[in-house]
């Protein structure tokens, strides 16, 4: 590896037995193209262990580490813990307000991940006010973002990568109806990313009709890698040495 780290990423692959094997030909040369593969949630259709086994077959046994977060589809059957277990048994790292550090050449690459949640964006966001359901909706997103910030900060590494399912910024939602932005992401995720120094890339999925590129208010590149957005098996991003931090 020369001059940084190569990050492959895709989200919203929605696997089950019907599409098992579709990605595998494109993954054949992954080891020559990337140092790590990130999966940005919605790995399954209904969040069942059976579908998770399809994900394990499709993305297990690859020549690079695979790091994943779950998405809302992966929670649909209330079996998210079983889904995560199946994926971990296949060698995938599954993050939820946790992190992992990989060694890529001379670099320690830290990745923190969370599903994240909705809530909307500054100036048009949900608040903990009114009915208990509204308070719970808002609180869930804020609590996840706070824990996510802590997991990012705890990484002992040279460069940090933020992996979420929900979007941290509205720019990568362009193309989606404005009315559903509060269900697609939360500015609290961007705030978490910007709070921690040295984040070189933020990757998310979830917004199928959104746009690929955005930036947090703090200047961190954000990429929406939902499969219908990138329209190929995965994207590859090269983080240059200038993206590498020296931890405080």
């Amino acid at each position: 590896m020369i001059g940084g780290v190569r990050v492959a990423a895709v989200g919203d692959v929605h696997l089950d037995a019907d599409v098992l094997g579709r990605y595998r030909p494109a993954l054949e040369h992954l080891g020559g193209k990337a140092d790590v593969l990130l999966l940005a949630g919605d790995l399954t259709r209904h969040g069942t262990p059976e579908e998770a086994r399809c994900v394990a077959l499709e993305f297990g046994g690859l020549p690079v580490p695979v790091v994943a977060v779950l998405g809302n589809h992966d929670y649909h059957s209330d079996q998210q813990d079983a889904v995560s277990s199946v994926l971990r048994d296949a060698g995938l790292a599954v993050l939820e307000c946790t992190g992992t550090v990989l060694t890529c050449g001379d670099l320690r690459v830290g990745i923190a991940g969370t599903k994240g949640f909705g809530g909307g964006f500054a100036g048009a966001c949900a608040s903990e006010f009114g009915e208990p359901e509204m308070k719970a909706f808002t609180r869930h997103g804020r609590e996840l973002a706070a824990q996510f910030a802590a997991s990012l900060a705890a990484l002992d590494c040279d460069v940090r990568i933020a992996l979420t399912h929900y979007s941290p910024v509205p720019e990568t939602l362009l193309g989606e109806p404005l009315e559903i932005y509060p269900f697609l992401g939360s500015y609290h995720l961007a705030q978490a990313i910007d709070t921690v120094p040295g984040v070189g890339l933020a990757v998310h999925g979830h917004a199928h009709a959104g746009s690929e590129r955005g930036t947090t208010p703090g200047g961190v590149p954000v990429r929406n890698v939902a499969h219908p957005v990138i329209r190929q098996a995965y994207n590859v991003y090269q983080l240059s040495m200038s993206a590498v931090l020296t931890p405080a």
């Binding site: 193209k33 070189g200 219908p228 098996a233 590859v236 991003y237 090269q238």
Partner: protein
Amino acid sequence: MSVDQYVEGELQHLLAEDERITEQGIRFVRTESGISLVGEVECAERRDLICQAVAEAFPDLPLRCNIGITRVHEPEEVEEL
């Protein structure tokens, strides 16, 4: 049959909540005579099932399927950040 916002609302619920489908990424475009379904899914079977479910729920609704299959080819480019 005309398409109004209530029909659109029912279609949205149908595609998201029907356990055979669970799709939230399909848009509905009203046409002069009916509705066009627009979006991408992972395989032809899922596309056909969506159109079948909508036709079953709204048999009098002229339907055009503009749902594509998301490609899975290997990337040729790298974006430098």
